[in-house]
């Protein structure tokens, strides 16, 4: 635990020291950021914004993960499907969500839908690609075992491919969780959908730098919290996996 905090503490010290030593202009020192943060935390608008962002984030992530995992398992389990869809996937993946902003606004204005569209579009690919690689990682002997016992396609998916892909899926979810947060904030920032992002936009255009950084810190902290959750889930569901069991032994 102390170890965990030491890294963050180091970062805080660095950010305090850099501006005070005059090494970077315009970066407020930690203390001022934290004061601004405390000010923000006192307002209900701030908490409403955090709530909005988290709602968009969670909804978007759930949709993206569900779609990515289902799609990945299905495409990954059927080699032909994978071969036929590969080019389309690769074509669609690099299209930036930000380029879709007009489309999102066109369809949903500043409502939650806009944010969701962008979040889901960006996070979906992260999960999909991880699942595809995860499914491909299946141990041939394990897969043959399943085949020799004539597992139904569903059982093969459920009991062989899915557990094999699970570690990859976890990485995918962790990647997607951050991307979803990033996109939620970005969408709010650019489109103005309610949430932390639009508060950041206001702070930015008002030249209120400490407040802006305070809000960025909040998104960062949300990321840290999300990761703690993901790690916990990993210990729970991957206890059988080499990566976890190697660390739990001792």
């Amino acid at each position: 635990m102390i170890l965990r905090l030491s890294g963050l503490a180091g970062l805080l010290l660095l950010v305090e020291a850099l501006p005070r030593l005059g090494l970077v202009a315009d970066l407020p020192p930690t203390s001022r950021i934290l004061t601004a943060l405390a000010d923000e935390a006192g307002t209900t608008a701030f908490w409403a914004a955090v709530g909005d962002t988290l709602t968009a984030w969670a909804l978007g992530l759930v949709i993206a993960v569900a779609a990515g995992v289902t799609g990945g398992l299905v495409i990954g389990a059927v080699p032909a499907l994978r071969a036929w869809t590969a080019s389309t996937v690769e074509f669609l993946r690099p299209i930036p969500s930000v380029a879709l902003i007009p489309l999102a606004v066109l369809l949903y204005g500043t409502s939650l839908g806009s944010t969701l569209l962008l979040v889901v579009y960006a996070a979906f690919w992260q999960v999909l690609v991880q699942v595809l690689y995860g499914v491909a990682d299946v141990d041939p002997v394990a897969d043959e075992t399943a085949r020799s016992f004539r597992f139904s396609p569903w059982a093969r998916l459920r009991h062989v491919l899915w557990p094999t892909a699970l570690p990859y899926v976890f990485t995918g979810i962790r990647l997607a969780a951050a991307v979803a947060l990033v996109l939620a904030v970005t969408a709010e920032l650019v489109i103005g959908a309610p949430g932390l992002g639009s508060v950041i936009a206001v702070a930015q255009s008002s030249g209120a730098l400490p407040t802006m950084y305070a809000l960025i810190v909040v998104t960062g902290l949300l990321g840290v919290a999300i990761n703690i959750g993901a790690r916990y889930a990993e210990r729970r569901f991957l206890s059988w996996h080499q990566s976890v069991r190697a660390e739990m032994a001792l």
Binding site: L3, R4, L5, G7, L8, G10, L11, V24, A25, D26, L27, A83, W84, S87, T88, E90, F91, L92, P94, I95, P96, S97, V98, A99, P102, L103, L106, A122, W125, Q126, V129, Q130, Y133, D137, P140, V141, E144, Y168, T171, R174, L175, A178, L181, V182, V185, T186, L189, Q204, I216, T219, G220, L221, G223, V224, I226, N227, Q242, S243, A246, E247
Partner: protein, 253 residues
């Protein structure tokens, strides 16, 4: 031949559907594909490709390469060392959650507004999939293999080279593949600020100046770029992971 068919069949189908469905589109922001394709031909002249796409590709390559090296190096260190991971992970997770658009101004403070800044923005976004996958790949190295290495004194650099990197390579490659499209996305984002040329810059300019067919043609170009790069990547992967694909396919042929 069959491969080409597999590659092109679905995209061709989707484009046909799009073409047909959009023929009569009145919507200003969703023009007919016909218009978009016409704009594509007009817009992406060789001249333009050289002026805007080349610089972008340069930044993309630099940023991607840097992210790959950084992600793998950091990932191996963090993955192989529990204490380091405990200390570093919160900091990394913190930065991972900060959106690149708000990060750009901060990066500008340190890196100025030149290509360096844009490359750093690309790195700042696409290092994560590489890093996370490397960490997980290294953590998951088979226990017996790891014991074998220790027993035979394969330690230090040799352990890295002969055990950790190859063992994690399937997952590292998954991360690199993820990073590829993210690099393209971040190339666009980085060129939205303090840029005067580049593919992202051009697309954003089109968007702001309401040149919607041109904007869509830019998006299509991004997709094509992603597709071409991923094909290159696939070739590289087949070479690098020949052992892995052989091992996985051994039972199927």
């Amino acid at each position: 031949m069959r491969r080409a068919l597999r590659l092109l069949a679905l995209p061709a189908l989707l484009f046909t559907v799009w073409y047909a469905a959009s023929l009569g589109s009145e919507n200003f922001y969703a023009p007919p594909l016909r218009t978009i394709l016409a704009a594509f031909a007009d817009t992406w002249t060789p001249e333009r490709l050289r002026a805007d796409v080349l610089p972008s590709l340069g930044r993309l390559t630099a940023g991607y390469a840097l992210a790959a090296v950084l992600g793998v190096a950091l990932g191996v260190a963090v993955g192989a060392n529990r204490r380091l991971r405990a200390a570093a992970e919160p900091v990394l997770e913190f930065f991972r959650a900060v959106p690149p658009p708000v990060l750009v101004p901060v990066i500008m403070l340190f890196a100025g507004i030149g290509d360096g800044m844009k490359i750093i923005v690309i790195v700042s976004g696409c290092v994560w999939p590489v890093l996370l996958n490397t960490v997980e790949g290294v953590r998951a190295v088979d226990g017996v293999l790891s014991d074998t290495s220790r027993a035979y004194g394969v330690t230090g650099v040799a352990r890295l080279r002969h055990l950790l990197l190859p063992a994690a390579s399937p997952q590292i490659v998954a991360g690199l593949r993820q990073a590829l499209s993210i690099a393209i996305i971040l190339m666009v984002i980085s060129e939205m600020v303090a840029a005067s040329n580049g593919l992202g810059f051009t697309i954003v300019q089109f968007q702001r100046s309401f040149a919607i067919p041109e904007m869509w043609s830019g998006i299509i170009l991004l997709g094509l770029l992603g597709f071409v790069l991923s094909e290159l990547f696939r070739l590289a992967e087949r070479f690098l992971l020949a052992w892995y694909h052989g091992l996985r396919d051994a039972s199927r042929s």
